[in-house]
């Protein structure tokens, strides 16, 4: 087991810059997810860590050692591929045994028939068989060891791929969207299994996904990648509640965060839709936008800053999401309410929405988070204080 350190990793394919200086410290035993939209370079980064792709610049350190120029098979990492990449001609047991056979047996001992007659091959073979059946037991696939991958379901294949990765003790596990081929139910199940496995093994995991729910539920920290950069790397709660960047706020959270354009008045005081807020930004800020999570909005009396018409409902049972069209706003505002509110939130009903200014996330024109917020200097508009 070992930690990973990435220093200023950059990668270009011809003219395209895919990674633009990625730096990341992953502690020993940590579970870090790389999330981001399709094509942002997650797989490329993982493959650079694994050594399957060479970085254009920067360095990768595994357990404190620079592994630039060390080939993939010598980096002692395990990887689970998006397509599972199981050897179709080998049984499940043989598939799981491959990493051990390749590393622990000599070339002569690996020969088809005479290999098992080589000195020491028998004992090694028994050790390997023991390790395979233990890995299979951990993953609950010990009944499948004689089958070929073609005779397994997607979820079973995924577990075989995991088994092949954890049969030896690598410095770290790299997983590239391992759940993307599973159906929704199995995905939830396997998600929990992987998280549990991580707790059990206390190993370093780097987990690539474009599914934010997976990232939020499994990881110690989430690295949000976009356009070849890591925008923020922090614990799931922090990324959700306290995003550094507008793109992070937009990417994390479902339904998406509500963004309201805000005007900057005298003394930096913000107002939304003509309603002054009890919030001020340093003067000179332009193009300010306020981000509000759906749960930050509450239904209020008339006179609240946002008034609109309910145009769509999504009832998830535990939660109720209402889309409210507010005149003057391009996007609909999404509100989370408890199902008890159902009667007052009829389709086409007019609702007024207010929010606690402390829950508002304020971003400047460039999308950077504005943290230097103050109470407004002059409190002239008492009636508008929410």
């Amino acid at each position: 087991m070992a930690g990973l350190i990435l220093r200023q990793i950059a990668k270009t394919f011809g003219e395209t810059r895919v990674l633009r200086g990625i730096s990341l410290d992953i502690a020993d035993g940590e579970f870090v997810s790389l999330v981001g939209p399709s094509g942002c370079g997650k797989s490329t980064l993982l493959r650079i860590i694994a050594g399957l792709e060479a970085q254009s610049s920067g360095e990768v350190l595994i357990g404190g050692e620079d592994v630039t120029g060390v080939r993939a098979s010598d980096r002692n990492l395990s990887m689970v591929f998006q397509s599972y990449a199981l050897y179709p001609h080998l049984t499940v047991g043989e598939n799981i045994a491959v990493p051990l056979r390749m590393r622990q047996l000599t070339a002569a001992q690996r020969l088809p028939v005479i290999g098992s007659l080589m000195p020491g091959a028998r004992a090694r073979g028994r050790e390997i068989a023991g390790a395979v059946s233990e890995a299979a037991r951990t993953l609950d696939i010990d009944g499948l060891l004689e089958r070929k991958p073609g005779q397994l379901s997607g979820g079973q294949r995924q577990r075989v791929a995991l088994g092949r990765a954890l049969v030896r003790e690598p410095a770290a596990f790299l997983l590239d969207e391992p759940l993307s081929n599973l159906d929704a139910k199995l995905r939830v199940h396997t998600r929990a299994e992987i998280a549990e496995l991580h707790r059990q093994l206390r190993a370093t995991f780097v987990y690539v996904t474009h599914d934010q729910v997976e990232a939020m539920t499994m990881s110690d920290r989430i690295a949000v990648m976009m356009g070849g950069e890591i925008l923020q790397c922090a614990a799931p709660g922090v990324v959700y509640d306290d995003p550094e960047d507008l793109r992070v706020a937009e990417f994390i959270g479902s339904p998406k965060i509500n963004l309201l354009p805000a005007d900057v008045g005298d003394g930096g005081r913000l107002s939304v839709m003509g309603h002054p807020l009890d919030l001020a930004v340093p003067s000179g800020a332009r193009g300010v936008r306020i981000g509000l999570r759906p749960e930050a909005l509450v239904v209020a009396d008339a006179g609240a800053p946002l008034v609109g018409r309910v145009v769509h409902f999504e009832n998830l049972g535990s939660d109720l999401f209402a889309q409210v069209a507010v005149p003057g706003l391009e996007d609909r505002v999404v509100l989370r309410a408890s199902p008890r509110m159902r009667s007052s939130l009829r389709l086409d009903a007019t609702v007024a929405l207010s929010f606690d200014p402390a829950a508002a996330l304020v971003f400047d024109g460039a999308g950077k988070r504005l943290r230097d917020l103050r109470r407004p200097a002059a409190n002239r508009h008492r009636e508008a204080v929410l």
């Binding site: 493959r47 694994a50 399957l52 080939r71 993939a72 098979s73 990492l77 395990s78 990887m79 591929f81 998006q82 397509s83 990449a85 199981l86 050897y87 179709p88 001609h89 080998l90 491959v98 990493p99 390749m102 590393r103 070929k148 991958p149 073609g150 005779q151 092949r164």
Partner: protein
């Protein structure tokens, strides 16, 4: 059936039975294809099978049944012993070597980043060229005195090559070999031309097979510790090419059994010095067409079909049992 058919005869009733009607339609629809198949494929084989027990000749009005005499000849006469020797020498030489070379060429071309198409075209050229024309070129190259092969070999005489290569030294002293006229070399020359002509075809089949190998499998193999190219080949490429290999071997061996045109071009009469290149196809042609001994020709044909059928059955068995990972 229209609504006015109120009273139905028993025949009409049975025709109205839907399952039966469907069955009859099915037979009617398959009948033309079935008739053609029987007429063009099965009937000639059956006729050949029948004729192989007779002494029929084309133009005769009748024939006598001779029982297994034709087959008895095939198994006892020395001419036919030579025929089997030549055929199996050719099949067992050309098939493995042309498959191996095809695989090697495909792997090499697949590892290239540039000039792929050029190499593909070059290796495929002999396949596209007619063997008759190419045989003439080879005949010319292998000419004992003016052929480029012997002239090149002669250049080695008197140099250090001769000391390293006893075979060459021997021929420098005794004169260069008559490649096509020598009983010892003739069948090997024919094999060589067969390999030269056929491996490009296998290469193309292997190249197609290689495109279906999943790239991530190579990465998985690398991560799993397969360091050398040979280990990756054993773990990923070779198993993935299993179905292709079975197909290529089958096709190559059937094509090898069918070899005829090289021999016909090199040796229009006699099939090589001392009948050393007397392969089955040539025997069928010679007996059945040239000498009008339809009975014995048919017997050889039946044997030939038996071999081909055996290869096909082995292929089917392998495909279903061994290389189908489904």
């Amino acid at each position: 059936m229209t609504a006015t058919d109120t009273i139905l005869s028993p025949q009409q009733l049975s025709a109205a039975d839907p399952a039966r009607r469907q069955r009859r339609t099915a037979w009617m629809l398959t009948a033309p294809a079935l008739a053609l198949m029987v007429l063009i494929l099965l009937a000639p084989v059956a006729i050949a099978a029948v004729l192989s027990f007779t002494n029929y000749s084309l133009g005769n009005f009748g024939f006598d049944w001779v029982g297994v005499e034709n087959y008895d000849k095939l198994l006892t006469r020395s001419t036919y012993a030579k025929m089997f020797t030549a055929t199996f020498t050719y099949v067992l030489t050309v098939t493995p070597i042309s498959v191996g070379l095809g695989l090697g060429a495909a792997l090499l071309i697949n590892s290239l980043t540039r000039l792929r198409d050029l190499y593909k075209t070059i290796y495929f050229l002999p396949v596209m060229a007619t063997l008759i024309a190419m045989s003439i070129a080879w005949e010319f190259m292998l000419h004992p005195t003016i052929g480029v092969v012997n002239q090149t070999l002669a250049k080695g005489c008197g140099t250090w090559v001769e000391t390293l290569w006893p075979w060459l030294a021997m021929h420098c002293a005794e004169g260069m070999p008559l490649w096509l006229g020598n009983r010892r070399y003739a069948i090997w020359v024919v094999c060589f031309v067969g390999i030269w002509q056929g491996f490009g075809f296998n290469m193309v089949l292997y190249l197609a097979g290689l495109t279906s190998v999943h790239r991530e499998l190579y990465h998985a193999a690398e991560i799993d510790g397969a360091r050398s190219g040979w280990e990756r080949f054993r773990l990923v490429t070779w198993p993935a090419l299993g179905p292709t290999t079975v197909f290529v071997v089958t096709i190559s061996s059937i094509r090898s059994f069918q070899v005829f045109d090289t021999i016909e071009a090199f040796y229009p009469i006699g099939a090589g010095p001392g009948k050393s290149a007397y392969v089955m196809m040539f025997a069928i042609f010679e007996k059945g067409v040239e000498q009008n001994l339809i009975g014995i020709g048919s017997a050889i044909t039946m044997m030939f079909l038996g071999f081909v059928l055996m290869i096909t059955l082995i292929q089917r068995w392998l495909v279903e049992r061994k290389v189908h990972y489904g």
